[in-house]
């Protein structure tokens, strides 16, 4: 085992009582590293996390925290090595945010749980780090979801763990808070050499903020690897069994599926100008064709997701006669042509030809 390995789980089987949910899972997280579990709802991400946190008994396999087997550690020892941030909302009656964050010091205090000045300093530091210091005296029930998550994160930091375990830390948060929380984790992992294991539903963010991604699907870790290895091709669409669209891992964009049927409208696009038109036509459920687009055009991914037909030309090639002929054939079947571009330069002369043909046919929409 590597010196820096904080969490080592081998051939882990997790589940509730007799019911196995995920089988044969192997995870290794080192200090300073962020490991993210992704996978569809109900795949067992939370079950895996709960088992690692020793809140569910292991069905089989081994979990080691900083080199010691989980089942040989006492509750108190675990609590000094591992802190959690869970999805369940806490009902903190008459507790200030400070009170909530201070519970992170619980494993370190004596019989009556009285905090020393040092404990208080650690709590304050953690709250400043997450940007929640100004909430110290505010009632926990009176703050927003985003602020609440910052306080809970401060609580988890104040526990001074070797590993932090977070179950969907960004769910219910606005995009600003999502980025705030994940950037903080990144910073914490690097600066304080904490290992982070979390589950996320925001794939685009998982891709950008993780060192390792584990895909939980069909009761096992279907794939494990770097984000670059996981977010390729059609794998994500397969992982989430997407039927009503597709996920583009290059841009982290989810696109719905195209309206079905023969194209009614032909959109001449390029350079991004066509995207709003594609979106509007898609909303109106009007099947349309798009062209002629270079395969490296910014709007190509959107067009290929939303249009029923896309006429393309190879990247960096001028639009050739073949493509124009093909496009003209499709265009003639349409009742209308929308031209979104005004500039026809060397590479897209073909589109000028197309526009002129549409005009001649009298179907060009002005």
């Amino acid at each position: 085992m590597n010196q820096k390995t904080v969490l080592q789980a081998e051939s882990l089987s997790v589940g509730y009582s007799k019911k196995m949910i995920v089988d044969g899972l192997t995870v290794s997280v080192s200090a300073g590293e962020i490991c993210t579990l992704i996978g569809p709802n109900g795949a067992g991400k939370s079950t895996v996390l709960k088992t690692i946190a020793a809140q569910l008994p292991l069905i089989s396999g081994n979990v080691a925290l900083c080199g010691d087997r989980l089942d040989t550690l006492r509750e108190k020892d675990i609590s000094k090595r591992l802190s959690v941030l869970l999805t369940q909302k806490i009902t903190a009656e008459r507790m200030t945010c400070g009170d909530v964050a201070e519970t992170g010091r619980y494993p370190y205090t004596g019989t009556f749980g009285i905090l020393t000045d040092e404990d208080k300093r650690i709590v304050h530091e953690a709250m400043s780090l997450t940007g929640a210091a100004h909430l110290y005296d505010t009632d926990f029930r009176q703050i927003s979801d985003g602020q609440r998550q910052c306080v809970m994160l401060a609580r988890a930091i104040a526990q001074q763990p070797k590993i932090m375990l977070l179950d969907e830390p960004t769910s219910y948060l606005d995009i600003g808070h999502k980025l705030h929380i994940l950037s903080l984790l990144r910073k914490l992992a690097k600066e304080q050499q904490i290992a982070v294991i979390q589950s996320l539903h925001e794939l685009d963010l998982a891709q950008k903020f993780s060192d390792t991604v584990i895909c939980i699907h069909n009761g096992r870790a279907e794939r494990t690897g770097t984000p670059e290895e996981i977010f390729t091709g059609d794998y994500i669409s397969a992982l989430y069994e997407i039927r009503d669209g597709a996920y583009d891992p290059r841009f982290g964009a989810a696109e719905p599926s195209a309206a079905s049927g023969e194209p009614e409208i032909f959109v001449i696009g390029g350079g991004g100008a066509g995207i709003p038109v594609y979106r509007r036509l898609h909303r109106m459920r009007i099947p349309f064709a798009a062209g002629i687009l270079h395969e490296n055009d910014v709007e190509y991914p959107v067009a290929s997701a939303l249009a029923s037909v896309v006429i393309t030309e190879k990247a960096f090639e001028p639009i050739g006669e073949d493509a124009v002929r093909q496009a003209a054939a499709v265009m003639k079947q349409c009742r209308e042509v929308i031209c979104c571009t005004e500039s026809f330069r060397a590479m897209n002369q073909g589109n000028r030809t197309l526009k002129e043909q549409a005009d001649a046919l009298g179907i060009l929409c002005s």
Binding site: A53, K76, Q88, I90, D99, T103, T111
Partner: protein, 341 residues
């Protein structure tokens, strides 16, 4: 802010102590025969031994007042523990049927004692009450595993209470009617008829349980964030839950054994104290709830025996009048908070 909190805590405790002293004095003075403050003082310090007045004070009023104080405190702490355990603001020994369960077993014991002609001592009554309380608690727990909803839990508790009360009534109806008056009085809840032997027994029991609860205050604080977080903080959940059940059952059993079922104290006082002290920290709240419950019950008992003197009300009548509005207030308050969120 930290300083303000400390000041508030100190002021609240001082206020409670003052009220407790005041109520204690008034309780000793007033009743069917009024005794002047200086006379009370002389009797307590042993300077005067006016036979009649002295007996009223030392054998009747003093034990009764102390009982109201100790049992009221115990009952409130029991309520606080149950509210923490079920994470339900209107949980309490009376609502969850635990008091009624204790009442049933004690009534059965009393009837058995009357029929077989043996003399009960307080230990037997306490043991019977404890058995009843634990049985009811276990039944409620069984339901709490099935129902996740707070309202359903309370309803199942109330229903268990009704069943126990019905069984008690049934037992009383078919029992010998000699001495049944005694049982009847007890089953409505009253602090009267406490003697010094009872005081000794209840002091030992209540203060032992109170110390236990106080030692658990750190874990209770962690448990306020939910079971999963408490577990992550290193709380041994199984042991903690077991201790909490035993302590709250012991406290409410003890109260029921001596004073019969007393309603609403267990629910109302913890909330009043949370509001007053402005905190949920068990380390502060457990003593606060104990004092608050003592003051509350002393006050209610004073009203119960002086309002229509010489006719005495059952203490539950008075505690319900003051306690039930608190429950309504809690529900309205929570509804408002939910809407605000």
């Amino acid at each position: 802010m930290e300083k303000r909190r400390l000041t508030r805590t100190v002021l609240c405790f001082a206020g409670l102590l003052l009220t407790a002293c005041l109520l204690f004095c008034i309780s000793l003075m007033s009743g069917s025969s009024q005794i002047a403050p200086d006379a009370v003082w002389d009797i307590l310090t042993g300077h005067r031994t006016d036979a009649a007045a002295s007996r009223i004070i030392t054998d009747i009023r003093l034990p009764r007042t102390l009982a109201a104080m100790i049992l009221g405190g115990g009952l409130s702490v029991s309520g606080f523990l149950l509210q923490s355990f079920f994470r339900n603001p209107i949980a309490g020994p009376f609502v969850l049927g635990i008091s009624s369960g204790a009442k049933l077993t004690v009534a059965l014991l009393m009837i058995a004692a009357l029929q077989h002609g043996f003399v009960m001592h307080s230990g037997m009554i306490i043991a019977a009450a404890f058995v009843g309380a634990v049985l009811c608690m276990l039944t409620v727990l069984l339901f709490s595993g099935k129902v996740k909803n707070m309202a359903q839990l309370v309803i199942s508790g109330v229903m268990i209470g009704y069943i126990c009360n019905a069984l008690t009534d049934l037992a009383v109806t078919f029992a010998d009617d000699a001495n049944i008056v005694n049982l009847h009085n007890w089953s409505k809840g009253s602090f009267s008829g406490t003697d010094w032997q009872d005081i000794r027994a209840m002091t030992v029991l209540v203060f032992t349980a109170l110390t236990g609860a106080f030692l658990l205050s750190k874990s209770i604080g962690a448990y306020q964030l939910g079971e999963a977080y408490a577990e992550n903080m290193g709380v041994n959940i199984r042991l903690f839950r077991l201790l909490l059940i035993l302590l709250s059952s012991a406290l409410s059993a003890c109260v029921t054994a001596f004073a019969g079922p007393v309603s609403f104290v267990g629910i109302a006082v913890p909330h009043l104290m949370k509001g007053m002290f402005g905190t949920a920290k068990p380390l502060i709240l457990i003593p606060a709830v104990f004092f608050g419950g003592g003051v509350f019950c002393m006050g209610c008992d004073l009203i119960a025996r002086t309002l229509f003197a010489p006719q005495e009300l059952s203490v539950s009548t008075v505690t319900a009048v003051f306690g039930a509005p608190v429950v309504i207030w809690i529900m309205l308050h929570r509804a408002r908070e939910r809407n605000a969120a």
